[in-house]
Amino acid sequence: MPKINQTIQETPYFRVLSEDQIERIYSAALDVIQRTGARFYHEEALELFRNSDAVVTDENLVRVPLSLVERAIESHPRKINLTGRTGENRISLDKDTVNFGTGSDLPFTYDRETGERRRTKYQDVLNAGRIVDYLPNLDFFMSHGIVQDSPNTQTYDRHQCLAMLEGCTKPMVLTSVDGEGLEDLWKMCKLFRGDDEKEYRLNPMFITYIEPISPLMNDRSAVEKLLFSAEKGIPCMYTPCPSAGATAPASLAGMIVQSLAETLMASVLTYLKNPGMPLVMGGVTTVLDMLTTTYSYGSPELSLASAANTDVSKWIGLPMFSTGGCTDSKTLDEQAAIESATSLYYAFLSGANLVHDVGYLDSGVNASLESLVMNDEIIGMVKQIGKGINTEDEYMALELIDEIGPGGEFLTSEHTLIHYKEWFQPKLQDRSDYATWVREGQLTMADRIQSETDRILKEHQPAPIDDKQHQELKKIVQDADERHAK
């Protein structure tokens, strides 16, 4: 007989904040915006604020009335779709849909030939792209490293974007030098949509990454990017990077309030420029380690505060950019594995839409391709937990238990043949017996990760960019270099 009064929990359920707590945090953030305000180092931004209900004092300190903040928040879409350059890889930033990806702009890379740490180059970003393009559990690509062999630091972003496009066909999150840089990146990506502005807006390829400077500061280049994104409707994240105890309160709630206020100020500014820009909430909300003064990428507080932030984002109705798969460890060692796995679990369970910084070593300073390969395996495990427990009749298997009976075996049943495929099958983890492990060379996880990375780099090539488009892309990059040549 069918049952009544049933609630099925399809997936595990995790939240940090109650609705009452979220309302308190939101309300407090509105107070910060109205009472404390934020500074904007950009004349057009200040003019937009002056011509609105906001108040500008002390040259560049902006305070905004609540009514304007609330109107601004309502103007952003609740959902964002992104597609890679070939149109095949799609992701959706929809409530509780989790996508994983790399982080951006690591200044150093471990050279795979020499093992030495050196500055990141064009080819490193391209190779990271190829790895991300291949790995099934990475859904979007941030550059991983920052290109430093470009002719000019002021045009690194165009070179970096080209390397990313060459290496990877997945949707992207892009950093840029300033508004002009962002415009070039947008032009580059628009080429893949027939160089049509409206078509591109319908099928964007990237979200632009922009940061305020905590506490409550907005520099010229960040504001340029916000205004350009608003003008063109480019999906954009304004993601504070406060360190609790240094650039934000040491209490996590205070840090979340402050970073929410920082994001909401961007919402107001872009609303005044041109309402409707797709805005992603963010926040690498972590602690300053009080022994080393490192901005920690491996702390449990990062995961806890990010999950709480995600709760707030869902309540507000904005997509969320969260953090996981990263570490303070200098190398890909036990510490890296522990910290990466922990943060990935909680970022996933929280339901954040983009979980970035997968593969970051050394607190956001060192890049390693092997780290990406290791994290892909962890994400596979994490996603398995997300499948939850199905309790329908087929899964309760009462008939089968009765059929096999006491002392029987399930190995040869049709039910096993069907359902074992729903399990997670590790690619790199070793579950063999001791004698087999010895016979096969006593390989460690690090050995297996390295050979898998070698294999991907040797074998995987992303879908090529056609020659004409490639020339057009290079032209945009060269033009930028010429404009900026000294």
Binding site: I146, I213, A246
Partner: protein, 212 residues
């Protein structure tokens, strides 16, 4: 009298800002040699702080409270100290270079240096190269501390070094640089004198640079 010096050291260790300042003033009023207050009171206390920090018994917030107490006492002491005093060794000018508004690392380094007796003049964020050169001319610091977080603003530190050379005052000041993308190699490349990966090493290196 030595009891009071001991009290300064203890209060410094406990981060009791008011007490350190009060006892320093009392000792000065009683006619104690300022150099003795500095050496046997303040430096003695900060030495213990420094050791406890290294041994992970004290953390940054506690160290900074002690540094603040030290700075308060130094303000009273500095005018009374002779030119030859070891505390007169150091004025440090700090700045975040143009285009960069990040300053937490620089501020932290400044506070730690104050805790070691340096007189720190902070120019703030987004400082133009020529303004930094002018500050060096004006304050004649022994050390110039430059900070940049971004790879895009990092080259500005090299620009400052060159501008100091052009102004003919490069030899008058030691330059120390810091920031996440900065390295020893980069310091060599642009002709800076030292690179500090964090605030406490920055303070150690500043003391070394002063000794020459």
């Amino acid at each position: 009298m030595s009891e009071k010096l001991g009290k300064i050291a203890d209060s410094l260790l406990n981060g009791n800002v008011e007490e350190v300042s009060k006892v320093t003033q009392e000792l000065l009023d009683e006619g104690t040699d300022p150099e003795e207050i500095l050496q046997s009171g303040l430096f003695a206390g900060m030495e213990v702080v420094s050791k406890k920090f290294k041994d992970c018994e004290m953390f940054i917030p506690e160290v900074l409270r002690s540094a603040k107490a030290m700075q308060g006492a130094m303000e009273k002491l500095r005018p009374k100290l002779s030119e030859a005093s070891s505390s007169q060794a150091g004025t440090v000018v700090t700045a975040t270079v143009q285009g960069d508004l990040h300053d937490i690392g620089k501020n932290l380094a400044g506070m730690m240096m104050e805790g070691s007796g340096f007189n720190v003049i902070d120019m703030g964020i987004d400082q133009k190269t020529e303004d930094i050169v002018n500050a060096v001319k004006e304050h004649k610091p022994q050390i110039l501390g430059l900070s940049a977080l971004l790879t895009t603003t990092m080259p500005k530190m090299g620009e400052v070094v060159n501008a100091l050379k052009e102004a003919g005052i490069r030899d008058q000041v030691k330059i120390m640089i810091g920031g996440a993308p900065v390295t020893d190699d980069f310091a060599d490349e642009i002709g800076a004198d030292a690179y500090a990966p964090n605030a406490s090493i920055g303070t150690e290196k500043a003391l070394e640079l002063i000794k020459g």
